[in-house]
Amino acid sequence: MTLLALLGRWALTYVAEMGRMLIFMVASFSWLARPPLRGRQIIKQLHFIGYKSTFVVVLTAAFTGMVLALQGYYTLRKFGSEGLLGSAVAISMIRELGPVLAALMVTARAGSAITAEIGIMRITEQIDALDTMAINPLQYLITPKLVAGLIGVPLLVAIFDVVGIYGGHLVGVELLGVNAGSYWNSIEAAVEWKDVYGGILKSISFGLIVSWVCCYKGFYTKMSAEGLGTATTEAVVLSSVLILIWDYFLTSLFM
């Protein structure tokens, strides 16, 4: 087989996979328009994806804000601009670090678990059992997770931003002696509404990416323990890479 043919086969395989993923997402969302809505399932998934990720998100946010303040302080001090520390921390958090790091944390904690859970359900024929009971597995299993990802990740990002800014305050103001008024005033002066809604848009799309990719990989896992391991790894890697790539595109769009 020639190199060109191999390249063609590789490209076709990936295009077909992307098509299947897209159909999977559209089909899952289409169930929102058809009863029953399964509100209890959505709340259960929100609890799992959102509430149970709060601790790791708060921890990551606090230390991210703290290290950002530390780095920012020593850089800004060279120019005599320590007073701008608050804006540096807040803008970095709201525009980039909040959405990206919170989404990566959700991928690591909840996304991998979603893939494993759905994958085990596939291997143990629980998904087939749903089908035989005339209950659509997409509607019962996937749609609530996609909705929970769309709602949960933006809320976690909001928490991440606030905790991160307070983490920066702790190091910048309490430890390094930056004036508290300067810290908060610079945030108020520098942060614009477009930064906030840019961050919200990013977090919504990242929430979708995590839940979509992780559900898809679990749903179509191969019927073996090794296949499940591979699916979980692929889900985490693909979600993380897509988050970073999509972040670049959205940032270039908002700039």
């Binding site: 629980q126 087939d128 059992a129 089908d131 009971m133 005339a134 019962y140």
Partner: protein
């Protein structure tokens, strides 16, 4: 009621089913036997539309289901239930919730109506008082019983059993067989069972069908089946041991 005509299926580039013609008798227990890897479970999954044939037809009471999708297929599936090899209980739900699941999710039933129907089924399969347990806390036999209770709770017209006694000790396998036959006699549903349990299945089945080289080689009543002249089939069934010729009907 349930009929397959010329069903073929390739999986992983290999032909598995090569033209299945099978007419399942209504209200009877038909057991499909065959060597491992012959495609018995694949055949069963075609009957309920979990797999679609490459060619051929699957008829359920005058409806050809092999090209049906979505709502139309679900309407047909409402007449079925299936007991999977590993019971396929939802491991995040208790036994009670598992059995109640189709009532709540499909019929939108709530409250005491659900409880009374679930308790009745759990009692019938010998799991009274076990509703609070999770599947992981049950033995293999108890999981199969719970799966059977879930299959029975919607009072289906057709139940498919995919190797219901695999992995069980002989006594437990016998008790599951007795349970299946007693329930089938009591409720009169059409049953299709995939099994390796020779000779036990000759004592409990109304009909035996042998899947060989992707086709139904023989289908007959147990006594007639055992008189087959096909040497390969004779060898297959003889290694299982003594073959009772009279059907055992268990009490309900």
């Amino acid at each position: 009621m349930l009929k397959l005509v010329g069903v073929t299926k390739m999986l992983g580039g290999q032909p598995v089913l090569r033209g299945i013609d099978l007419d399942v008798p209504e209200g009877k227990l038909t057991t499909i036997i065959g060597r491992s890897g012959e495609g018995k479970s694949v055949l069963l999954k075609h009957m309920i539309g979990l797999l679609q044939p490459d060619s051929g037809e699957v008829w359920v009471d005058g409806v050809e289901i092999s090209r049906l999708r979505g709502h139309a297929l679900n309407e047909v599936r409402k007449r079925f239930a299936m007991l999977f090899q590993g019971a396929a209980l939802f491991d995040s739900l208790t036994v009670f919730e598992n059995v109640a699941f189709p009532l709540r999710e499909r019929l939108r039933m709530k409250g005491p109506d659900v409880a009374s129907r679930v308790d009745e089924k759990l009692e019938q399969v010998g799991l009274a008082g076990m509703g609070h347990k999770f599947p992981a806390e049950l033995s293999g036999g108890m999981r199969k019983r719970a799966g059977l209770a879930r299959a029975l709770v919607m009072q289906p017209e057709i139940i498919l059993f995919d190797e219901p006694t695999t992995g069980l000790d002989p006594l437990m396998a016998k008790s599951i067989h007795d349970l299946i036959t007693s329930m089938q006699r009591k409720f009169g549903f059409t049953a299709v069972m995939v099994s390796h349990e020779i000779p036990e299945i000759f004592g409990i089945s109304d009909y035996i069908a042998m899947l060989k080289h992707g086709k139904i080689a023989v289908m007959a009543e147990p006594a007639e089946f055992q008189r087959t002249s096909d040497p390969e089939i004779r060898e297959f069934i003889s290694v299982g041991g003594t073959m009772p010729l009279t059907k055992v009907v268990s009490g309900v």
